[in-house]
Amino acid sequence: MAAYVAQRLALALATVLAATFLTYVLLRLVPGEPAQVILTRVFLQDQTAAVSQQDVAAIAGRFGLDAPLIVQYGRWLAGAVTGDLGTSIRTGRPVTLELGWRLSATGLIALLATLASLMLTFAAVALKRSFPSPMATRGFELLAVGSIALPSFFLGVVLIILFALRLDWLPVSGFESWAHVVLPVTVLALGQFGFNAILLDDAMTEALAAPHIATARAKGLDERAILFRHALPNAILPLIPYLALQFAFLIGGVVIVERLFAIPGLGAYLTDALDSHDGPAFLGAIGVVALAVALANLAADLALTRLDPRIRLKRGAA
C-alpha cells in the first residue's frame, strides 16, 4: 500500500513538474527574443517599435532572462514552492495574490456545478428506475448522451439569448451577485450530468444483479426499499472516485464557461494571460491547474482503493 501511495504521489509531482517545465520552455521558445517581446508588446504596446539593444538588455536583466533556461526554471520553481509565482507583466501585481482571488470564484462555481449535476443525476436515475419502461430507458439515454454531445459554449449562448436577452430574467455576464452564477453553473452542471448519469445507471444495473438483491426480493421487500436502500449505496461507490477524476474535465469546462460569462476565475485568467502574452501569470495558472488536477487524481486513486475492498493492491491476492 505504501509503495502504491508513493508511486501515485511521484506521478502527481511529476505531472506538475512536467507541465510547468514544458510550459516554461514553450513560453521561452516563442519566436523573437523574449525580452524584446515583453518590451514591445507590453511596455510600448507597439510590436513594430524600434528598440535599442540597451533597453532590451535592461528588460532581460530585470526579468532574469539572461540565465540558461534550466536555471531560470529552477529559480521559478524555488519561488513557486515558497508561494512566490512572480509578478504579472500585465498588472504588476504578484501572481500568487491574483490567483488567490481567481481561485475563489472558480472554486465556488465548480462546487455548485458538481452539486447540481449530482442532484440531476440522482433524480434522473431514480426516475428511470422507479418507472421502468422502454420509453424511460430511451429518454434517459437520449438525455444523457445529449448532455455529453451538447457543447458547453453553445448551451451557454442559447441560455444567454433566452434568459438574459429575450426574457431579461438573469444578467448576461459578470460575477457580482448570485443571479450571475445561475447560468454558468447550469451550463457546467448539464455538461457533467450525462457522464455521471450513465455511470450511476450502469453501476445500478450491476448492483441490482447482486445475490443479496434476490434475497431482499424473495423476502418480500418492496421495490423502492430494494432500489434505494440495497442497491443505491453499492452503486454510488464507483461514482465517488470518478467525481475526483472528473475534476480535469471540469477545469476544461471552466475555461470555456468563464470566458463566455466573463467570470474572473482561474480559466479566464489562463486565457487572458495567453492573449496578453503575460508569461508569469500563464505559467502560475498552469501550475495551479496541474497541481489541482494531480491532487484530484491522487485522491481518486486512493479513494478507489480505500472504498472498494474488492481492489487489492498486493500482487497474488485473488
Binding site: 449562448v157 439569448i161 455511470l199 492573449d275 500563464f282 498552469i286
Partner: protein, 275 residues
C-alpha cells in the same frame, strides 16, 4: 438484421437533412463579403441568413463542416497510428520501456486537453497546427492503452507462440498475428474520438486558439456572433445546432456499437476531455 426502429429513421432523417444542406452550402462562397447584405435574417435568398460582414451563414457552415471533419480525421489518423505503435512497443519490449511509456501516458491524460492546447498555443500562437498537435498528443493515449493491454493478453495465446516458434520475427508476429486482433477493437474508439474531436475543435475555435478567421469554423462562428446575440441570434444558434447534431449522431453510433462495454472498462478518464 432487424428492421429499423423508429428512432433509427429519425437519426437517418436528421443525417439526410444535414447532408443535403451541407451539399448545397458547399456550392456557395463562404468568404465572399458584401456589406450591403450584412445581418440579413434567414429567408429565401439566404436560408440561414448572413453574418455581420454579409457572408452567407449556410456557405460558412458547409465549408466549416469540411474543415472540422478534415481536421478531426487527421487527428484520428495521427492518434491511431501513434497509439498502435506505442502500445505495441510498450507491450512487446516490456520492462523499462513499458514503464516509461505508461508514465508518459499517465502524464498526458492527467491534464485537461484544453489546457494542453492552451500550452501549445502559448508557443505556436494558435492555428490549425497547434490544434492538430494538441489533440493528437492527447488522443493517441487511449489507443495505446487498449493496444498495450491486448498485446499483453494475446502474447501467451497458442497461435502467437506457434508463430514465434515457426521462426517469425517479432515484427512479423506483431503485424500478421496481433494487429488483425487490435484493429476491430480500436475501430470502435474511432467513432467516439471523432465526436470528441469535433467538440474540441469547436471549443478551441470558440476560445480563439484553434482555426483562425476568416476561415469558417463552427466554434469560431459562435464566438464571432457574440456582439449580435440580440439582433441576429441565428448567427450563433445555427452553427451550434449543426455541431450538436453531428456530435450527437457520432456518440449515438458509438453507444449502439458493441464496443461500449470495452470503453467503459478501458478508459479511465471520464467523458469527453472537454465539454
Amino acid at each position: 438484421m432487424s428492421a429499423l426502429r423508429r428512432s433509427d429513421w429519425l437519426l437517418l432523417a436528421i443525417t439526410a437533412l444535414f447532408a443535403l444542406t451541407i451539399a448545397y452550402g458547399l456550392t456557395l462562397d463562404p468568404i465572399d463579403a458584401s456589406l450591403r447584405n450584412s445581418l440579413r435574417a434567414p429567408g429565401l435568398d439566404f436560408p440561414f441568413g448572413t453574418d455581420h460582414l454579409g457572408r452567407d451563414v449556410l456557405a460558412r457552415i458547409a465549408h466549416g463542416f469540411l474543415r472540422d471533419v478534415g481536421l478531426s480525421l487527421t487527428i484520428i489518423a495521427l492518434s491511431f497510428a501513434t497509439g498502435i505503435a506505442m502500445g505495441m512497443l510498450a507491450a512487446e519490449l516490456a520492462g523499462a520501456v513499458d514503464r516509461a511509456l505508461t508514465f508518459v501516458m499517465d502524464l498526458l491524460t492527467s491534464l485537461p486537453q484544453i489546457v494542453i492546447a492552451l500550452i501549445l498555443a502559448a508557443n505556436l500562437g494558435g492555428g490549425e497546427l497547434a490544434l492538430i498537435l494538441a489533440l493528437s498528443l492527447t488522443g493517441w493515449v487511449q489507443y495505446a492503452r487498449i493496444a498495450r493491454a491486448t498485446v499483453f493478453s494475446l502474447r501467451e495465446r497458442g497461435f502467437v507462440t506457434s508463430a514465434r516458434l515457426a521462426g517469425g520475427s517479432r515484427l512479423y508476429v506483431l503485424r500478421r498475428h496481433i494487429l488483425p486482433h487490435l484493429l476491430p477493437l480500436l475501430s470502435g474508439l474511432v467513432a467516439l474520438q471523432f465526436g470528441h474531436n469535433i467538440l474540441n475543435i469547436a471549443a478551441l475555435g470558440f476560445l480563439g486558439i484553434g482555426v483562425q478567421p476568416p476561415a469558417p469554423e463552427w466554434g469560431a462562428m459562435i464566438a464571432e456572433a457574440r456582439p449580435y446575440f440580440s439582433r441576429a441570434p441565428w448567427l450563433a444558434i445555427v452553427p451550434g445546432l449543426y455541431l450538436f447534431a453531428m456530435t450527437m449522431v457520432a456518440l449515438m453510433l458509438t453507444r449502439r456499437s458493441s464496443f461500449r462495454q470495452e470503453l467503459t472498462t478501458a478508459d479511465p478518464q471520464p467523458g469527453p476531455a472537454t465539454p
